[in-house]
């Protein structure tokens, strides 16, 4: 059984790309590689990527998603770009804290704050 690919809402505000998961509350192992491919493609086509990932619709994630984010973050930094995460629900944020990844990623409370930090 092959699952439908997860849908991402991608918008561009000035030179900042904002990506929001549109219809997938669960960042599970099956969807995460597809999402990672799409995000890496966005980074690859940008000269100096500025990316905001909006987690408003994400109610669950596991270590596979964290791995994907770390790889994405590295690729963005290699191109001297910037990554911001925002709208992370408290239960998800706790996963970042437990793994100390809140020290690696720059996390904003709202999309507005994330965009402000990149302009």
């Amino acid at each position: 059984m092959r699952e439908e690919a997860p849908r991402l809402n991608v918008t561009v505000e000035n030179d900042i790309t904002v990506v929001e998961l549109a219809d997938r509350k669960i960042l599970d192992e099956i969807s995460i590689s597809q999402i990672g491919e799409k995000l890496n493609a966005l980074v690859a086509e940008a000269e100096r990527p500025k990316l905001v990932l909006d987690f408003a619709n994400v109610s669950h994630m596991s270590s596979s998603a964290l791995g994907m984010l770390i790889t994405l973050h590295k690729r963005i930094r290699e191109k001297k770009g910037h990554l911001r995460l925002c709208n992370i629900q408290p239960a998800i944020y706790e996963v970042f804290v437990i793994t100390r990844l809140n020290e690696i990623f720059q996390i904003s409370e709202s999309r507005h704050q994330a965009l402000d930090s990149l302009t």
């Binding site: 059984m1 699952e3 599970d28 192992e29 099956i30 669950h60 596991s62 270590s63 596979s64 964290l66 791995g67 994907m68 770390i70 790889t71 973050h73 590295k74 239960a91 996963v95 437990i98 793994t99 100390r100 990844l101 020290e103 690696i104």
Partner: protein, 131 residues
Amino acid sequence: MQERVIPSDLTAAKELEEQVLRELDRHGYSEVASFAVRLAMEEGLNNAIKHGNRRDQSKTVTVCYEVTAEEARITIQDEGPGFHPEDVPDPTADENLEKPCGRGIMLMHAYMDDVHYNDRGNKVFLVKRNT
């Protein structure tokens, strides 16, 4: 105790996770507890399929679970050679923070009330109390 034998397949694993979550819901477990069990099961099943059985479709994963009003007990066993959990590097050590893998086991420990392995290291026991 219910026993399910699934192929080394993530879709089958996800369906099984949903079955257990429905049992938790039926017994009135909190959202926090359900979050923890979903996370631990996903990590345990991923480890069994990817690292234990190495995605070998001829190998299966055996999952036993029992959900009562007091606690949820889950075991996940693969057909791999097993591993020693103490050999897995601490993913929160400074030198490992930016490695993309290696957080599943620590997350299981962080979210469950009990996590332990059999001697061979191919079977994990998970317990979450309904508090």
